[in-house]
Symmetry: C2
Subunit: 176 residues, 2 copies
């Protein structure tokens, strides 16, 4: 069997108990997989949280990790999103210097072009938010870099089945 | 000494090595703290990742956890954001049923009122994104609930110092 290395996005529905996140994370690090990004938050069902992980690695080993995730008592569902039609987004908050009129003009143009929004500001700096796929967030940061990036926080990638793709929909409300 | 229980938002700058996330998460679960949300992603410096955690618990115990975090070799900085002026946001992706014209009218009104955006759709369902503080995301989901929520994914809360608040700025670029 041939095997290759690719990027993987996993969406994991898990019972909300402390210690469970440590177990999930441990399954990856135990096999030498670096978790590039992880997002954990509530679902509509208070008993469950959802974890979305992105990682890069051998396709066969990922299949083994998924099998082991299924064996964890508190893991209810695991979706390998990269196998299915899905939408990915991350949220980026970034504060840039813009003390001079020319800098503000540049900033205004960039945020209008990409669909970002100002959410806070001081006399010399603006905090901007952008929701986009990770690659676009990185392009956005490259566009802003000449202005001077003062501060940055990126949410992990999150992912959802495309509407109408019955295979993976209903993983929100009807999960339990 | 009196102590009280509150919500805490921690922003942790950490060297990007596998296993480190498991150690950080373990510090919390080992003391019986549930991590409500966690977001981990890259920073501008490829050597470092940032983890933003939200948790609820005893204020004195959180101070102990922060001291222990500082002792981890690969943890560079820990900011207790809730002690400082900061901005919080999370990203919510949600697919709602809207097969009838009346449902689409309701949906359009709600998303215009709150500043959400359609990012994908099928003939019977729409996927909408909203970036807002967690409480507003929960209000948004309550507004959508009567339409029928098919699918949901929430990023963890992320947080940034307010621009102009020198105490906590520069935790992005100048971190290393």
């Amino acid at each position: 069997m041939s095997s290759k290395t690719s990027r993987h996005v996993l969406s994991i529905l898990v019972e909300d108990r402390f210690g469970e996140l440590a177990r999930i994370v441990g399954l990856f690090s135990g096999r030498g997989f670096n978790i590039d990004t992880i997002a954990v938050n509530k679902t509509l069902d208070p008993r469950f949280s959802r974890a979305v992980l992105t990682t890069r690695g051998d396709d066969q080993i990922i299949e083994q990790i998924i099998k082991q995730l299924h064996k964890l008592v508190r893991v209810r569902k695991v979706h390998h999103m990269t196998d299915e039609k899905h939408i990915e987004r991350e949220l980026c908050l970034v504060t840039v210097r813009a003390a001079a009129p020319k800098a503000r003009e540049d900033l205004e143009r960039i945020i209008n072009l990409v669909g970002a929004r100002v959410i806070a500001y001081s006399p010399t700096a603006f905090t901007v938010e952008l929701s986009a796929p990770s690659k676009e967030v990185e392009n956005f940061l490259e566009l802003l870099r000449p202005l001077g990036i003062k501060d940055l926080c990126r949410s992990a990638t999150i992912a959802l089945a495309r509407p109408g793709d019955d295979k993976t929909s209903n993983i929100g409300e009807n999960a339990a």
